[in-house]
């Protein structure tokens, strides 16, 4: 039952992604690429790229994207509901308790323990994305199979982001344009 699978997968993504932003990324990769094979690593990376350039949280964007690909608009709706349902229940409960007792310390301290792990998991997902970018979807890592033009683009992007604090959206667009120009120049 594909709808149930979509629902349960995105329910887990919604339930276990703490810390916002990129925190959902490793969970989405785990469910959508590793466990169910709904997207290839390269499609997953495209999805993250698209999410970066459009408004909306990565988890909600992914639910829509994967849902449509696997089971059309109903699939997208079910995946999206799955992904926000845990938030609805948990956040409403906490808000209710808060408006009564006005204390969020315990919650914050649990989050403090999670944060370092979230960084590590994002790093791990980032490495899979880079492997897919540098060596293609088959991800056979060899020196000869390295796509050096992409390694160079990566290095330029890191420089633009870190040194010149350029807006990430422009950096990504620039990366795409450089690659297109290089490949038409025959490099």
């Amino acid at each position: 039952m594909i709808y149930l699978q979509l629902f349960l997968s995105f329910l887990q993504i919604g339930l276990f992604s703490f810390g916002g932003g990129y925190a959902a990324m490793p969970l989405i990769q785990g469910q959508v690429v590793s466990t169910h094979g709904w997207l290839s690593m390269s499609e997953f990376t495209d999805l993250i790229t698209i999410s970066q350039m459009t408004p909306g949280p990565i988890a909600v964007n992914s639910a829509t994207f994967v849902g449509i690909k696997i089971a059309g608009i109903p699939g997208a709706l079910i995946a999206t509901i799955g992904c926000i349902l845990p938030s609805c229940i948990i956040v409403t409960l906490i808000a209710k308790l808060y408006l009564k007792y006005q204390n969020v310390d315990t919650l914050q301290s649990v989050l403090n323990s999670l944060r370092p792990a979230v960084v590590a998991m994002i790093a791990s997902a980032g490495i899979s994305i880079l492997i897919s970018a540098f060596w293609g979807s088959e991800a056979i890592v060899t020196l000869a199979g390295t796509r050096w033009s992409l390694v160079a683009i990566f290095a330029v992007c890191v420089l633009l982001l870190q040194k010149f604090k350029m807006n990430p959206i422009w950096v990504m667009i620039l990366a795409g344009v450089i690659k297109a120009v290089l490949s038409f120049a025959g490099l």
């Binding site: 992604s17 703490f18 916002g20 932003g21 490793p26 785990g30 390269s42 990376t45 495209d46 790229t49 698209i50 970066q52 408004p55 909306g56 909600v60 964007n61 829509t64 994207f65 449509i68 997208a76 999206t80 926000i84 938030s87 956040v91 906490i94 808000a95 209710k96 808060y98 969020v104 914050q108 301290s109 649990v110 989050l111 323990s113 999670l114 944060r115 370092p116 792990a117 590590a120 998991m121 790093a123 791990s124 997902a125 994305i129 970018a133 992409l150 683009i153 990566f154 992007c157 890191v158 982001l161 870190q162 959206i169 990504m172 990366a175 795409g176 344009v177 690659k179 297109a180 490949s183």
Partner: protein, 189 residues
């Protein structure tokens, strides 16, 4: 407060607008929510909003969605939650639906596929920069437990391919234990 219909309508329009035009993730959107509901509409007290934002950031799920939930709940209870969530979901849902329709057709285009390939390296760089900033933050905290958690979690996820859900669960457990120990120490003092 004003009549409920008006509050719900304003809530719907405001969250829809914020969700449609906010690029750059959850942290940006909660800041804009504060601006809208505290400074502009004055529907929520500043202090209370800060705590609501803290709830949105520490609970699981997307921060933008959580932010909509806390604001919706505060203003109009469960109906407010539903109103704010639907308004927050509509823009990304519509935009990504349209993109997915074109994605399949576009991906086979030579220029687009080259563009996307380059952008994969670009997004890799963006993530690397984010990880660097966050990792540096953890390292500079000089908190041995945090650094240990970060290294262990990385080895588990990257080398041993441990399901990230287990890593999250273990960290929640560690967090609860740490809080208990901390409370005990405070009590002894």
């Amino acid at each position: 407060m004003k009549n409920k219909k008006e509050v719900l309508f304003k809530l719907f329009i405001s969250t829809l607008y914020l969700s449609a035009f906010t690029f750059g993730g959850g942290y940006v959107i909660v800041t804009l929510m504060k601006k809208k509901f505290v400074d502009e509409l004055q529907w929520i007290e500043e202090d209370e909003m800060l705590d609501l934002v803290a709830i949105a950031q520490s609970a699981p799920g997307a921060i933008a969605v959580n932010g909509a939930i806390v604001v919706g709940y505060k203003l109009a209870g469960i109906i407010g939650v539903l109103t704010a969530i639907i308004a927050t979901i509509i823009p990304p849902f519509v935009i990504i639906s349209l993109i997915s329709v074109f994605y399949a057709a576009f991906r086979s285009n030579v220029i687009i596929s080259q563009l996307l390939e380059g952008m994969q390296a670009g997004v890799g760089a963006v993530i690397a920069a984010v990880v660097y900033e966050m990792g540096l933050g953890v390292a500079q905290s000089r908190n041995a437990a945090s650094i240990l958690i970060m290294i262990t979690a990385f080895v588990a996820a990257c080398v041993f391919q441990v399901n990230v859900i287990y890593i999250v669960l273990i960290c929640i457990l560690i967090g609860i234990v740490r809080t208990c120990i901390h409370h005990k120490k405070e009590a002894v003092k």
